[in-house]
Amino acid sequence: MPTMNVIQAVNDALRVAMRQDPDVVVLGEDVGRFGGVFRATQGLYDEFGADRVIDTPLAEGGIVGTAVGMALYGLRPVSEIQFADFIFPAFDQIVNEVAKYRYRSGGQYACPLVIRAPYGGGIRGGHYHSQSPEAHFIHTAGLKVVVPSNPHDAKGLLLASIRDPDPVIFFEPKRVYRAAKGEVPEGDYVEPLGKARVTRPGTQATVIAWGAMWHEADQAAREAAAEGLDCEVIDLRSLQPLDLDALVQSVSRTGRAIVVHEAPRTCGFGAELSALLQERCFLHLEAPVRRVTGFDTPFPYTLENEYLPRAPRILQAIREVVSY
């Protein structure tokens, strides 16, 4: 199996999907001749041509709005938003159009499209090149939200997303775009949406994370192990649909849960997970569900590593939860 990083895996998934299905097109800013500012679409323009690898004007509402029309007419568009922070000019299209098209037409129409966007901090990007806006979209019924943490899942989940009957917001952890490497199967395969993965079995606490923060959670769990604290780590992978069974199963066993995310704490997805876990695992819980998250501020520049819920803060939470 070839070794790839996340960006190569995304690129490979797009190529596989486009070879296999002539209805798949990609569109976005700089995605065509240049191959994207992160090189996610590199080589696609040469292989599939300008009709299927489309450089758009600088207008996210157009990148998503025209994708809606394409999807209605039978294409499988994959829109790239250059940074997740710039998804908001398309927010109206996503929330009011993409998410509701099937429902408001009584199921006559569907809007199967994928919106890919690099998200997250730790790259010295300040307010507008660092945000993790997943909660806005999970909160909008009608959208699926997927966040891979590694190359294998990036490819398999993207292929599944492109073929999914529903619209998928696909957030890519840009901090580990190149740093996270791993073996990726050649050719076609899918990782089903809605399935979490236990990446480290453990008995004393469950650490739940996704995307770039999975790497911090994993690091914290290793450090905890060195202190004799045995943590289970779950990579959520798909936030909507959510693999609630996997979470309930794990937390019922460990009795302690820590949710890690980069987004601000208030109304972050950790709040929802915390509520679900106390509803479903109440009698098993040995400690309150802990959230280790970004703070209720815009994403900062200089103090970004203080802001980010990195391994040392997660480790502190593990110690506290276990000794509660």
Binding site: D55, L58, A180, F295, P298, R310, A311
Partner: protein
């Protein structure tokens, strides 16, 4: 009598049939130039006294030296990012010098030169780039996202074109208050595709709001050339559809830009409405320090534009005019270099990080309860483990 619901035949402009002909709009919106290739200019078109012209030239030289130095600093890892204006100095200083100091500026991310002209101290600007303890933005924004209220220079955000309606609103407010204030909005050629461009121009034209829409057409939106941004021959012609005045000016010609801006300001102040000013210039470097333009841009194209370098053209003009000689030019460059060096030393001496509590300030006028709690939580985390905030100890 015509009834309301009947569609009236469009009044056809006699020349409307020509609109489809290639070159029509290029002729209708001719590129206005003052500085000729031989370094001369029509004396009637020279808007300032020699000393002021030299002063603006010095600003362009300083801005160029600053950009070059900061790109080097970024490569050395001393600042995180940089986005400069190399090649676009005449557009920036021509527009900024063409309005009054009481006028507000709503910048994009390449107009730090306009802020410096408005009195932003160089040291302060450098502290902003470092995001250090002296950064006016308190280390919150990435480099080149400065704000400078004393100079009526608004705050920069990365999302493209968002500042355009802000400029309209500020100018509108000034008119409601009876103030003589014209807002100057900067944006690029790519921004003309964004919805905020449309919204801003439509609102402004409808209400004859005193705004100057300064479009820095530098030929590129990252890798997307101007020709693939819009099918329109010129950007200036977009003014027509909104019912406002538009002009196209040689953006590498400081005097042409200055004159056009002054005309636009006079029109706006007289209640005649906004102007869309397309300044045709060229981005000589990569989009930013994150970009390598060799992947998408033929080098010979850049060479052609280098010969039209706005600094060279202004220098040639000043030398020919006798406002500057070689010795004075060399001295000016030395001074600029020293000024930069001094400011850099001063800025780098400040502590690299703003205090922890600044993270939670200014989100609201007063921090909320949970923010105060989160500050305590972060302080405790830092106290318990010095690795918190230190990326070298992070996961991946």
């Amino acid at each position: 009598m015509r009834r309301e619901h009947e569609v009236s035949p469009v009044a056809r402009h006699p020349r409307l049939a020509e609109v489809d002909q290639p070159g029509f709009f290029l002729r209708e919106f001719p590129l206005q130039t003052v500085l000729r290739d031989d370094g001369t200019a029509d004396p009637a078109e020279v808007p300032l006294a020699d000393a002021d012209l030299v002063m603006l030239y010095r600003w362009m030289v300083l801005n160029r030296a600053l950009d070059e130095r900061m790109i080097t600093l970024q490569r050395q890892g001393r600042i995180g990012f940089y986005i400069g204006s190399i090649g676009e100095e005449a557009t920036i200083f021509g527009t900024a010098a063409g309005v009054e100091t009481r006028d507000w500026i709503f910048p994009c991310y390449r107009e730090h030169g306009a802020a410096l002209l408005r009195g932003l101290p160089l040291v302060t600007y450098l502290c902003d780039l470092f995001g250090n303890a002296r950064d006016v933005m308190k280390g919150r924004q990435m480099p080149c996202h400065e704000a400078w209220r004393p100079g009526r220079f608004a705050s920069i955000s990365s999302p493209i074109a968002t500042q355009i309606p802000h400029a309209v609103g500020a100018a509108w407010a000034a008119r409601l208050k009876g103030d003589d204030m014209v807002a100057l909005a900067y944006f690029g050629d790519g921004a003309t595709s964004a919805h905020d461009f449309h919204t801003g121009l439509n609102f402004a034209a409808l209400r004859k709001i005193p705004v100057i829409f300064a479009c820095r057409n530098n030929g590129w939106a990252i890798s997307v050339p101007r020709e693939r941004q819009t099918a329109a021959e010129t950007l200036a012609q977009k003014a027509l559809a909104y019912g406002m005045h538009g002009e196209r000016v040689d953006g590498n010609d400081l005097l042409a830009v200055l004159n056009a801006t002054r005309r636009a300001r006079a029109r706006a102040a007289a209640g005649e409405g906004p102007t869309l000013l397309e300044c045709v210039t060229y981005r000589l470097e990569g989009h930013s320090t994150s970009d390598d333009p060799r992947a998408y841009r033929p080098a010979d194209l850049v060479e052609t534009w280098k010969r039209k370098d706005p600094l060279l053209r202004m220098r040639r003009f000043l030398l020919r005019r006798g406002a500057l000689d070689e010795a004075a030019d060399a001295k000016l460059r030395d001074e600029v270099r020293e000024e930069l060096q001094r400011a850099l030393r001063e800025a780098e001496a400040f502590p690299p990080k703003p205090p922890l509590e600044t993270l939670f300030e200014d989100v609201y006028a007063e921090p909320l309860r949970q923010q105060r709690e989160q500050l305590r939580e972060l302080e405790a985390a830092v106290a318990a483990d010095p690795r918190v905030g230190n990326p070298r100890h992070a996961g991946t």
